[in-house]
Symmetry: C2
Subunit: 344 residues, 2 copies
């Protein structure tokens, strides 16, 4: 390789890299209904149903810092973030396979803590641990979870189905997990400088919980079913709202208008952002790890959700050539930019 061209990983974005690595693959089996490019793959099961599959790795030093993340919470989170990918397809999770690689600085008891969190999440989401792999690593802790889910084929929602004039809806609130991370990072710095100082997490329980123990919104999938709403498109918000809206728009070949004043932001997120001199709207737009659902619905379904505390209509879908915009509090339209997460 030495004399050949060397392109650094950070020269490409994550999605460009994935595209470059996977575009040479061709589908050979009829059972592969949908492959790379959405929150989960879709595999034929029977006439009515499909099986959904998704995989996600959490890597020490990249995705988590064990200085402030309890192992049981980490186990719980590893399941949540994967279950969230199945929810984003409007499906229900049923099985997980968990690969764990650890160095010998971890004890059996530490791994049991991790698996206690995994077990708690599995019970909560009614998911079965059906397989895995346990091996050693040369340095840190690596958790790779694959989740399988099930859905009626006619209920599966892709990123690509948004239609012009559809409403853009977000579940829950945004930016809180990001602010939780800021608080944890601050207390870590204080602790590193003076280990005798106890962490000051007072009043930040909510945002810290959102960071350390995120919940996949399986409840939202069930509510949509009860309300008889079939979203035209859906994605989970893992990399920040702006990035996810843009995924939906690009996959659907549409544009959008979002309204800043409609962004659902908890008061605790607002006050933490104030503490850190951050703009809470930016946190909601570009902070990651909310694991809320972002979806589009037909306007005719508006009445079904308008009074529902779990749902916020934050904008609407436009035609592709109208672009992707955010209207701020001064009524100025700003072109959306996705910052998402830079992994390299």
């Amino acid at each position: 390789m030495d004399e050949q061209k060397r392109t650094e990983l950070d020269q490409l974005g994550e999605f460009e890299l994935i595209n470059r690595l996977t575009n040479k693959f061709k589908t050979q089996n009829n059972s592969s209904l949908y492959g790379v490019g959405d929150d989960a793959a879709v595999i034929n099961s029977n006439d009515k149903e499909a099986i959904l599959a998704s995989t996600d790795a959490l890597i020490e030093g990249v995705h988590f810092d064990l200085t402030y993340v309890p192992l049981s919470f980490l186990g719980y989170k590893a399941i949540s973030v994967n279950v969230s990918d199945i929810c984003a397809m409007n499906a229900k999770p049923e099985q997980v396979l968990v690969s764990v690689a650890v160095s010998n600085r971890f004890s059996v008891e530490a791994l049991e803590e991790l698996y206690n969190g995994i077990a708690e999440a599995c019970e909560f989401y009614k998911v079965d641990l059906v397989g895995g792999d346990t091996t050693s690593s040369t340095s840190g802790l690596i958790i790779n979870v694959t989740v399988l889910g099930k859905a009626n084929k006619n209920k599966i929602t892709y990123r690509s189905g948004a239609k012009e004039y559809d409403l853009i809806v977000a579940s829950g609130d945004l930016g809180s997990a990001y602010m939780g991370l800021q608080v944890l990072e601050r207390e870590k710095m204080v602790f590193d400088e003076n280990p005798s100082i106890q962490p000051d997490l007072d009043g930040n329980d909510y945002i810290i919980q959102r960071q350390l123990k995120p919940q996949a919104r399986l409840d939202i999938v069930k509510q949509l079913e009860e309300l008889e709403i079939l979203p035209s498109s859906m994605i989970d918000i893992s990399d920040g709202l702006a990035s996810e809206v843009m995924h939906i728009c690009k996959s659907s070949k549409k544009g959008c208008v979002l309204y800043m004043e409609k962004l659902p932001i908890d008061t605790k997120t607002v006050s933490a952002a104030l503490d850190f001199n951050l703009d809470h709207n930016t946190c909601a737009l570009n902070g990651g790890e909310d694991y809320e659902l972002l979806f589009t619905i037909s306007q005719k379904d508006f009445d079904k959700i308008k009074k529902h505390p779990n749902f916020s209509v934050i904008g609407h879908v436009t035609s592709e050539n109208e672009g992707m915009y955010l209207v701020d509090k001064n009524d100025s339209a700003i072109a959306l930019k996705a910052q998402g997460w830079k992994h390299f």
Copy 2:
């Protein structure tokens, strides 16, 4: 955790550890037909068929050494070892999800090399890449593959089905991948001491190929089908024959007798073992990564395979209280011991 008991990971065997971590999990979904404890999990698909799922991680510094493993071979191997788990259930692989974590010492071109190998294997096994995750790692390269397969429910073979008097059969030959590893490790040492010396791999192509680019025996699964043989139990030989025979016996609550003189060992493995002052039978029994299939069949099927070059009858199943023995060339019965791989 500090004041609590600390059990080191290497105090438990791999299987004891997995058992301790997973025994608290309860199955909650009817679709989970079989969970932890075999080569793959079994998930209900429709009246006739089930979906098989398995996951395996390859970790730099633990499972491979990039000094002598070309990245494209590594990609191929990552798929092979996972496909092998599906073959071990007498099923056919259909999809893979590939998670890759890399540090920035890797270039985009290096990752493309890896994916070239993955693509070659996917095409060879007729498997579709349907998902994955690409992220950064703090140090080395980590590849986690999840493979999904399909089988008629009445054809799935578990480890637990061996019956007394069944014949024990191995595909291909054993110990060659282990000898390939010895040659590669030797040449690495020579190179480390004197980088101007070219590696001496002459005459060792076969065993090196077996180590670097193992083939999952999907062809054997198809041959068994053509021969109308349904094995009573099956496992793939990844940790050494002795360890795998013991898995089948323990799962099936049976004993066994293996005959040393029946072990299928290639002449190239024998001569390489001689070079290294190793006993080739020990290499076949305890060397790893053969990825051959080990299975048990009813005696009535013997005629169907007796002239088949791919199959070697190496022993038979006995009752549990007769124990697990190897008969050596002096007709002495030696209790089987599994060395397998120590990962911690």
